[in-house]
Amino acid sequence: MTKKDFGLLILILAVGVVVTILNPRFLLPINLSNTSNLVGMFGLSAIGQAFVIITGGIELSVGSMIGLVGLLFVDFVATRGVPWPLAVVLMLALAVVVGLVHGLLITKLKLQPFIVTLCGLLFYRGIARFYTQDATAGFGFGQDFPALDWLTTGKIHGVPITFIALLVVAFVMWFVLHRSVFGRHLYAVGKNEEAARFSGIRTDRIIIWAYVICQVLTAIAAIYFAMYTRSISPSSQGNFYELYAIAAAVLGGCSLFGGEGSLIGVVLGVVLLQELQNLVNLLGIPSSLNYAVMGGVILIGVILDQQLGRFQARRRAAELARRGAEAA
């Protein structure tokens, strides 16, 4: 755990203490369970986003893909009678294809990630709305998939499965990001793609993988979101979710220039964001102020973090200068 991650954890705990004092319902099992469910779902897509951001890219189509994948999944399972395990496999395959296409457009055609994924954002949303002619897809009365329901909306000792899924994915991805050869290459590409290529790394491949991983994690999140909301409105499901993912990654220490960020930081970023949402609800702040609170807190966090970094750099420089003067 880096110093930055630790700082974020302290902040989360501090906010938690304040909210608990103001409204003890914060610690009610039902509240914690609901919040951790949201943390689980948003966390999966934020981890995916972090992989892309570490390469110096960005993935804006996440929200639209959460809408499209969720819609297709519910439609396949509820309306078309596709066995749900097959539907899951199909959704993951779709995610792989989308990630692959994004990655190829960005690396081989040298398009900017922002442009490619912005077009994706518009395109997938449009496809989703066209697919059902803007009609909402949902489960019919009495339709029951016990295994699927348990795997998506179930709980183990009160802990939502989504949160457990996040912990499992985070655990695996921590090794991928911080201990694997791929993870090292990912950071190298993000820090300096040119130097990474000159070190014999197949940088294009690394970048494409990042987009594929992002889309696959997003698709898993999309299925969870779909089973959570149970009825999918193609024009609104997942709207803005890419921005939550980006915000969480940035809160967690990712730099949009690439090469920075830790997995624990990203997960903590998601926790903080959901805690703030919860705070708005519990403290009776008008829910219309929801976005304003989130935006304000992120901005303050980033400013503090940057100022702290500059302060430390200045202190280091002063220290070096002092040592230099002594040596001279």
Partner: protein
């Protein structure tokens, strides 16, 4: 040939436009200009020659007002200054046409000429008066004999035409001294001809010209007087009648060679890397054939822009090879990426150390293991212990000076950063190492260490290709020297033919009268 004293200003001529007296400039202890004196008269075309690092760019920066000299006087129209500001320089009518053009593709010719000083109309609305702009540019283009119009988009012009736009820009501010910095280095021959005509036109109007070029035959044709710089000093001047290719070369070099570093212990072996008519993207019409043998250091000399770095990039798989083929140990290979080259034991120490060599934001240990992480991993997971062991070996081997191996590469000195780049390759098994300007900007002590290391590598059987613009280094370290000129190999020198003069002759494309075996 005149001795290095100021050019005598003839009594018949008025005071020269520009007079430099004992101008000095040092960069962190390195003397870039040490006591330069020279004069430029009105309507005179000066050819300024000198090797890379002779002080030409420093001189240009002083004249442009970008940097201030440490001492000496700059006289303009007889008024002495200690230093010029950018405004002084512009006000005096000194205009620059740089090697890299500073034009806006999206504007037309007139828009570029008046960029930042557009004639305005509509009073407070401050609209650009395009009509006036074009009307003012038209006569300038006529004076230059340009075959394009003020409203031609710059993006549709050839390089030489674009250079004319830059010159028109200079004329539009009533330039009295136009400095052309390597204007022809990117021009094909026919276009060069046009530019030389423009220079003659400027001269006829009484405008002084300083013409910097590595292409000596162009200077032979265009210059009234040649000023040669060497090691930051005036090496001599040549009057019109004295200008000859050989005399310029003599003035540009002519310093004693330092003793060579030790030669090879064993004679070079078989050919390791062979380029057969390789065509690079920069010079597709100039195929390169080159044999690099094991146990040798092959120096690759040439002027800046001769295509050496481009060749290195092609050999390393970074740039595609458009034609010809590469052979390693006699087997043809296709390199589609640097990863392919690395897998075959071809390594590159790039010229751009901070941009392409080290990852400044990574610790030393991660820099060293980066190209070969799989060998430092069990299954998929990197073993930090194995990495540290490798890095420790390289730290001892190369004497990398750092408190710890987890220090970020950004906090190392240039020489130690270069050692880290070397370390990452030495930790693998090099067959071919290409070093592009390996000692540029590195202190003398580390330089010597790098030379010794290159020799050790060669003795161990590695084929070393060293690209260098440092004449002393090329002659002192290489076993053979290949010289490039405008994208092609203009000649290969064996040890007994090594001389600065021979290298320079080949570098400017003269292959005929090589000075015989010394």
């Amino acid at each position: 040939m005149k001795s290095p004293e100021p050019h005598p200003s003839g009594a018949e001529a008025p005071a020269p436009f520009l007079t430099l007296t004992d101008v000095r400039k040092a960069y962190s202890g390195v003397q870039a200009l040490s006591g330069l004196s020279m004069q430029v008269s009105r309507g005179e075309v000066i050819g300024l020659v000198g090797e890379n690092g002779a002080g030409k760019s420093t001189l240009m920066k002083i004249l442009g007002g970008v940097i201030a000299p440490d001492g000496g006087k700059i006289g303009i129209d007889g008024v002495a200054h200690d230093a010029l500001s950018v405004a002084d320089s512009m006000g005096a009518g000194i205009a620059f046409v740089h090697q890299e053009l500073n034009l806006f593709d999206n504007l037309d010719v007139a828009g570029n000429v008046f960029i930042g000083r557009e004639p305005l109309s509509w009073g407070w609305m401050r609209f650009v008066d395009r009509g006036a702009q074009r009307a003012k540019v038209a006569p300038l283009l006529e004076r230059l004999g340009a075959n394009f119009k003020p409203d031609t988009p710059v993006s549709s012009l050839s390089l030489a035409q674009q250079q004319m736009v830059e010159i028109a820009k200079a004329l539009s501010v009533e330039a009295r001294l136009v400095i052309l910095d390597e204007p022809t280095s990117s021009l094909p021959l026919a276009e060069t001809e046009k530019l030389l005509n423009v220079i003659a036109g400027l001269k006829a109007e009484g405008i002084a010209v300083i013409f910097i070029s590595h292409r000596l035959h162009e200077i032979e044709r265009a210059a009234d007087r040649v000023i040669a710089l060497r090691d930051g000093k005036l090496a001599g001047t040549l009057d019109k009648a004295e200008i000859s290719h050989d005399r310029m070369v003599k003035l540009m070099i002519g310093r004693d060679l330092k003793a060579r570093t030790g030669g090879p212990k064993v004679a070079p072996g078989k050919v390791r890397l062979s380029a057969r008519a390789v065509q690079t993207t920069t010079y597709p019409l100039r195929p390169v054939s080159l044999d690099l043998r094991e146990r040798e250091i092959l120096g690759l000399a040439g002027l800046v822009g001769a295509g050496r770095t481009e060749l290195a990039r092609a050999l390393f798989g970074i740039d595609p090879i458009l034609g010809g083929r590469l052979e390693i140990d006699g087997t043809p290979v296709a390199l589609s990426s640097a990863a392919d080259a690395v897998a075959r034991g071809i390594f590159l120490v790039p010229e751009d150390r901070k941009g392409a060599g080290v990852l400044l934001g990574l610790p030393i240990v991660e820099n060293i293991s980066l190209p070969n992480l799989k060998a430092h991993a069990r299954r998929f997971l990197v073993s930090q212990r194995m990495e540290a062991a490798t890095a420790e070996i390289q730290r001892t081997n190369l004497a990398i000076k750092t408190p710890t191996l987890t220090t970020l590469a950004s906090s190392l000195s240039g020489g130690n950063q270069q050692k880290v780049v070397l370390a990452k390759w030495l930790a693998m098994e090099p067959k071919v190492i290409i070093m592009d300007e390996p000692t540029r900007g590195i202190d003398v002590g580390t330089k010597v260490e790098i030379y010794r290391l290159m020799r050790e590598l060669a003795d161990a059987g590695v084929a070393v290709l060293m690209i260098s613009s440092d004449m002393e280094e090329v002659i002192g370290v290489s076993d053979r020297i290949a010289v490039m000129h405008e994208g092609a190999i203009s000649g290969i020198l064996e040890r007994e033919q090594f001389s600065e003069e021979n290298v320079l002759l080949l570098a400017v494309g003269k292959t005929a009268n090589l000075a015989g075996t010394a």
